[in-house]
């Protein structure tokens, strides 16, 4: 009896030692986060919401991989429960209770099961998207802690123990202290950084049900514009990159990665981590396509971007800002914000835009259109249609925002269909015509915040002259800028996408489409409508209203794959092994649908540009017009 009495204290003591070690390791890591710049964080609110953010928002993403979800619930739940229960056994009444130790043993046994699940993803062969490196020892540490803990608790429960106890306890200690040690730069960092990141998330709106996707305006008076080195990021962004578990979910969602362009979002985040911390263990996941090795100096003040730096400029300019990575990331990391901060520095401070993007951005700055085309020519697509100008009318129910697509011959067909539908439904609408400037979306995604802000101010001033209830646009990029990004520049507008507006007209009986049952169609979600604005239902409802046979692609809705047209990627034109639109069109072809329905000028242009296309590319407005004409 006497011999195991102290062990009931030593075992809980081990867990307390683990906690202390984890705390020390966290503090050492936190010293690195503190080099970041200041950020406003509502700590109390964030901490209070932490359980909800974890259980609802994180779980929503994790559950897309049911195996990973179950694995994590078992292993993390078991680990937390077992460690907490053991730690509490420091209280003598609990330590004396054999039933209590049985409970502890049970919790450790659950952890052991979870550890086996963790191991099964990595042995005998690791899943392709996972990283190796320190993560490969994680199952062993977990197993040692869990099995050691189970046996120790069992022995304490039955009250024998004797000679075996020191061994089981040593096993638990090896595993447990190893896990705590890994909090600084190993796999267990994700637990601490992930929890803190959830509380201090830079986009808290994500958890309150709003699509918090607008880029944050840059103060153009700031001494340094954008991020050149790790220390230029705010501290909670640095923290967020440390939360990455290297799960590779972002990697398999990334269109640029799939096309063999030199971008891998996981690697990008890991490069930001390794850039901050020179002692970081080497990266052990899939490389950037093209296989460029990391080079250049590291440290909080090291230059991150450059042909000779950690991240090659081509990596930075390959991103289409599609947010697929953000949508899939279980750690709620904001990759696009990182890309745009880095681009802002390159563009604003160094003028280091990709060569092919310089022309369009310069034209945008000088003439209000990326193609340098005359602004009055924007309405040329409507020659022969009656297109009322706001300048003549002064007010209208609906202001129709035409966007850049209006200059495009192919897309002009879509806009003509839309205008005819609006006429048909007797909508009181008008356009800005020559007064409409580009929203500046292209400039903003390419990091040219100065041009974006100048255009935003001009457009806001123009819109202030007229009275209208809503803006309707067929361009999701314009929609996103006007709806989510212009409020920061004094323009709060109600902005409706044309698909939602057309659905409204159908439901109100102002459009009475016939049915087109002979067409089979698959709908391609635009990133800036689905992921940036959460709108996936209206376009489908319009298609259903005209009785089309609708099939879904494997990736659809908020998880759809990008067409390659966003974020200035078409003008930057970074070479890859394949083209993104070809990949997307092939996915559409798998459905066997004869028509790919689109709802965005960029998607139209990208998908129409695919050679050997079997399916037709039609905008929802065009399909609806056909149905309305068939219904007469």
């Amino acid at each position: 009896m006497h011999s195991f009495m102290p062990l009931t204290t030593v075992f809980p003591g081990l867990v307390w030692a683990m906690a202390a070690l984890a705390l020390v390791q966290t503090a050492r890591r936190a010293a690195l986060w503190r080099v970041g710049s200041a950020a406003p964080v509502a700590w109390l609110h964030g901490l209070a919401r932490l359980p909800r953010r974890y259980l609802v928002d994180v779980h929503h993403v994790v559950a897309r991989d049911p195996y990973a979800s179950r694995m994590h619930a078992v292993v993390a739940g078991g680990l937390l429960a077992a460690s907490l229960l053991t730690a509490l056994a420091i209280l003598p009444p609990l330590a004396q209770s054999r039933a209590y130790w049985l409970l502890v043993a049970l919790a450790f046994a659950v952890t052991a099961v979870g550890s086996v699940l963790v191991g099964a993803r990595r042995y005998p062969a690791k899943q392709k998207r996972l990283s190796a490196g320190r993560f490969q020892i994680l199952p062993f540490l977990l197993l040692a802690y869990a099995v050691g803990g189970t046996l120790t608790a069992l022995l304490l429960a039955v009250g024998t123990g004797g000679i075996a106890l020191p061994f089981t306890l040593a096993l638990a200690a090896a595993g447990g202290l190893g896990l705590a040690f890994e909090v600084r730069q190993g796999p267990m960092r994700h637990a601490v950084a992930g929890a803190l990141h959830l509380a201090a998330h830079p986009r808290p709106g994500r958890f309150e049900g709003r699509p918090d996707t607008a880029l944050q305006p840059l103060d153009l008076e700031a001494p340094r514009l954008g991020a050149e080195m790790p220390a230029d990021f705010t501290w909670n962004r640095l923290l967020s990159y440390d939360a990455c578990v290297s799960c590779g979910r972002c990697e398999i969602a990334c269109p640029a990665f799939a096309a063999g362009q030199p971008l891998n979002p996981k690697r990008l985040i890991q490069d930001l981590v390794a850039g901050l911390n020179p002692a970081e263990p080497p990266y052990a996941g899939n490389p950037y396509p093209g296989g460029r090795e990391a080079e250049g100096e590291r440290g909080p003040l090291a230059r991150l971007i450059g042909p000779d730096a950690r991240i090659h400029p081509d990596t930075l300019w390959s991103c289409t800002t599609c947010r697929a990575c953000v949508e899939e990331c279980p750690m709620m990391i904001e990759h696009v914000d990182a890309v745009v901060s880095l681009r802002r520095y390159q563009t604003l401070e160094r003028g280091a835009l990709p060569e092919k993007a310089i022309g369009p951005v310069t034209e945008l700055r000088q003439s209000g259109d990326a193609g340098g085309r005359p602004l009055p020519a924007r309405t040329d697509f409507a020659a022969g249609l009656d297109l009322p100008l706001m300048a003549d009318r002064g007010q209208a129910d609906v202001l129709l925002w035409l966007g850049e697509g209006a200059y495009d011959l192919r897309y002009g067909r879509t806009l003509r269909a839309l205008v005819r539908l609006l006429r048909q439904a007797n909508v009181d609408f008008a356009v800005l015509g020559p007064e409409e400037r580009d929203t500046g979306d292209l400039a903003r995604r390419l990091g040219d915040e100065a041009t974006f802000q100048a255009l935003a101010r001009e457009n806001v001033a123009t819109l202030a002259k007229y009275r209208f209830a809503r803006i309707v646009t067929a361009d999701p990029h314009a929609l996103h800028a006007l709806r989510n990004e212009y409020p920061a520049f004094g323009g709060p507008y109600t902005v409706v996408h044309h698909t939602a507006f057309l659905l409204e007209l159908i439901r109100a009986g102002r459009l009475t489409p016939g049915r087109l049952p002979d067409l089979s169609v698959t709908y391609h979600d635009p990133c800036y409508l689905a992921r940036y604005n959460g709108e996936t239902e209206a376009p489908r409802a319009v298609l259903d209203a005209i009785g089309l046979a609708r099939v879904e692609m494997a990736r659809s809705g908020k998880r759809a794959m990008c067409c390659g047209g966003g974020g200035g990627a078409p003008v930057s034109d970074i070479p890859g092994e394949r083209r993104i639109p070809d990949l997307r069109m092939a996915q559409a072809a798998e459905t066997g649908a004869g028509v790919v329905a689109v709802a965005c000028p960029s998607c139209t242009a990208m998908l129409e540009g695919v050679t050997d296309r079997k399916a037709e590319v039609r905008d929802i407005a065009e399909l609806l017009l056909q149905a309305v004409e068939a219904g007469r």
């Binding site: 514009l225 401070e349 003028g351 280091a352 993007a357 951005v361 000088q366 003439s367 340098g372 005359p374």
Partner: protein, 273 residues
């Protein structure tokens, strides 16, 4: 190596906004590359811009497109900039003076660089697309565009004025942060102000010029008459159409064409012809 770029107040050809003329932005890129080649990128010896006119705001864009400093000779509206520029350039004596081959949206006389070269007694190399250090010390190698992709290489010794051709590499991107850091130095010219020559201008709305129909066939089918009327029987139609030719024959035809338009030197060394 001192490099000056002449900057003029321009207008965007489509929007009419006050912008730096495109050719001058291209000239800046040439100046920056040349400065890099000579290792004079920073400090007082870096390439600088020079503007003479009432307001430097219109050329301030040059600060974001590669220049760190602009010297502004303040002149009243309507005054001929050449005497002030010549006086200032004679005093500062840059080794290379770069200018656009003509302005954009202003007077567009295209004469200022020539007037300056004459006043400074320097050679003027027109329509360059690149300027680089020559093989011999103290020389410069300039590539002049002859149009249609043809280039002529010129090597000069001593100070030179050069005008830039549109085929030169496109301008550098505008960097807002750099523009913020750049400086504009205002200078009072001492030269007597002389009114600029009044350039007779007449404004007319733009109208596409009708195509001149040459040798329209009197008879012929409707398609032939249409072809003639739309100019389709012009230069483009005068070529030979070869369907599925042998590679050698195709290559010969292409070479012959390139010789005809002067891109490739005439063939004088063929032994048996």
């Amino acid at each position: 190596m001192k490099i000056a770029v002449l900057l003029s107040a321009g207008r965007h050809p489509v929007s009419g906004a006050a912008v730096l003329p495109r050719l001058e932005a291209q000239a800046i890129r040439i100046a920056v590359r040349l400065g890099e080649a000579f290792g004079v990128l920073d400090g007082g010896s870096a390439p600088f811009g020079l503007h003479a006119g009432p307001d430097a705001a219109t050329v301030a864009d040059a600060l974001g497109q590669g220049l760190a400093r602009i010297e502004h000779l303040v002149l009243p509206e309507g005054v001929d900039p050449v005497p002030a520029l010549a006086e200032h350039l004679a005093a500062t004596a840059p080794d290379v003076i770069l200018a656009g081959r003509r302005g954009q949206g202003g007077g567009e006389s295209g004469i200022v660089p020539y007037a300056l070269a004459a006043a400074l007694d320097r050679p003027l190399i027109a329509d360059v697309v690149s300027v680089a250090p020559g093989d011999e010390a103290g020389t410069l190698r300039l590539d002049q565009s002859l149009g249609r992709g043809a280039l002529r290489r010129v090597v000069v010794r001593g100070p030179v004025v050069a005008t830039v051709h549109p085929d030169a590499p496109a301008s550098l991107a505008y960097a807002f942060g750099r523009a913020r850091r750049g400086t504009i130095v205002s200078l009072e010219p001492t030269a007597e102000p002389v009114a600029g020559p009044a350039i007779p201008v007449e404004e007319r709305p733009y109208r596409r010029r009708p195509k001149i129909v040459k040798g329209a066939p009197a008879g012929g089918s409707a398609a032939e008459r249409l072809k003639a009327a739309t100019g389709e029987s012009g230069a483009a139609a005068s070529g030979r159409l070869l369907v599925d030719p042998a590679p050698e024959e195709a290559a010969r035809e292409i070479l012959a064409y390139l010789r005809r338009v002067g891109v490739v030197a005439p063939d004088s060394t063929r032994p048996n012809s």
